[in-house]
């Protein structure tokens, strides 16, 4: 084999390796935790005059146990999810005020996020990928884990409380060149959607509990509210949420 042929072959091999690395190093996908089997209650019917308003007292967010400001997008998404149910006549903020004798349902929502960025693994894989001049990119996928739990506490006009909980988790797996901030948003979107779907399913199941005719308005002359230091979590740790764990099917 003459030197020219050898040079051409070497160049061809280098080009092929570069193309393969680029082509296979751009993929990304999201894996959701498997769904547990839950029974779908199906569509329920509610008369318009049986609908009552829902007042959101608070939406609180924690990330890895640390309190955060709830983003406007998250609030909007939760409110839209509840509005789409059709169970309540309308939704409003707890600061709007309402007549104390109205039939209303009050809500407290806690969104608890757990992020596992696999930082150590990403760092080591990054060093190895860099040292290999990126040729190992297709063989060392990176990971980003996200889990969410949405707790919803609803208080009916007669003081009865019900708690609901939906939780889900997923992992974004990606090759180095496939990483974008959008990927993380997509993962969070899928996980949050699964949680909200689970909450909606539980609420639909309890439709009869929230109809206007389900209970009379409390006629006590003095209505009271608790004034206390804000607890770290709402609902508090001693409460027993409805134990339901649901995840959406894997996609992508």
């Amino acid at each position: 084999m003459n030197p020219d042929t050898l040079r051409r072959l070497t160049l061809l091999c280098c080009a092929t390796v570069s193309l393969l690395t680029t082509a296979t190093g751009c993929s990304r996908w999201i894996e959701m935790a498997p769904l547990s089997e839950t029974q779908d209650p199906g569509a329920q019917q509610i008369a318009r005059d049986e609908q009552v308003p829902l007042i959101i007292d608070v939406i609180r967010t924690t990330r890895n146990g640390s309190p955060q400001n709830t983003s406007a997008e998250t609030q909007q998404r939760i409110l839209s999810s509840l509005a789409e149910l059709g169970l309540f006549s309308h939704l409003s903020s707890g600061h709007d005020g309402s007549a104390s004798n109205d039939k209303i349902v009050r809500a407290k929502i806690l969104l608890s996020e757990t992020i596992d960025p696999h930082a150590g693994g990403a760092a080591w894989k990054g060093i190895v990928i860099g040292a290999s001049m990126y040729t190992l990119t297709p063989f060392l996928p990176l990971e980003y884990g996200y889990a969410a739990r949405v707790s919803l506490e609803l208080e009916r006009w007669d003081g009865q409380l019900k708690r609901y909980e939906g939780q889900s988790s997923g992992t974004a797996r990606y090759q180095l060149f496939g990483a974008t901030p959008i990927m993380i948003e997509e993962l969070k979107g899928h996980v949050t959607e699964t949680c909200l779907n689970e909450l909606a399913r539980q609420l639909v199941h309890d439709t009869a509990f929230y109809t206007a005719s389900s209970a009379p308005v409390s006629h006590s002359d003095i209505r009271t509210v608790s004034i206390r230091r804000r607890s770290p979590q709402i609902p508090d740790a001693s409460s027993t949420p409805i134990p339901v764990t649901v995840s959406a099917p894997a996609d992508r």
């Binding site: 992020i115 960025p117 930082a119 760092a123 990928i129 040292a131």
Partner: protein
Amino acid sequence: MTPLSLAARIAFALLVFIMAIPCQADEVTPHLTVGTQEISLSAGYLLPHRLTTEHTTKQSGPALMPSWAMVLTDPIGKSFYRGQLLLGAEIVYIQFQEPFLTHGVGFTPKIKYMFEGTGRLRPYIEFAGGPFYTDLGGRIPEESSRFNFILTAGGGLSWFFTSQFSFNVGYRFHHISNAGTRMPNLGLNSSLPFGGFSFYF
């Protein structure tokens, strides 16, 4: 054009560029998440270090370094060292004006650790290494071959004018040698103060 006048022109061009950027009046906090890309362009001037008596060459000249990097991790650590890891690659071009007008170009994967700092002012350290081709090799006693490797270690400061744009200044130590593939292989050592800018998206 003397090397110093070229460096002064580069510094002046950077200054004009920075002044042309509209500064935001409100608080600027860069939000670098996993997958955020950084492209940057840096320029500096190479200054020689003769570490032994056998080193005689006073190589010097301007250097240009376009680079790309990607944020690999969310902020890690809980103390002053809290920061994010970036992985990327860089092209290094050096125009050796001394001892001969020659050129060098290299490609180096690089890893960068960017501290959280004050949010707007973020220090960083970086390491890079890769192949480097220069026609200075074979014309000086320290290096016999044109194909070499370049190793870089340094640090700098990034000042974020906006949440996506930063001005960077820093210092790097460069080592160029051929990894013993051909003798002699004393290697060239240099300092490289530099300035540049980055765009994050």
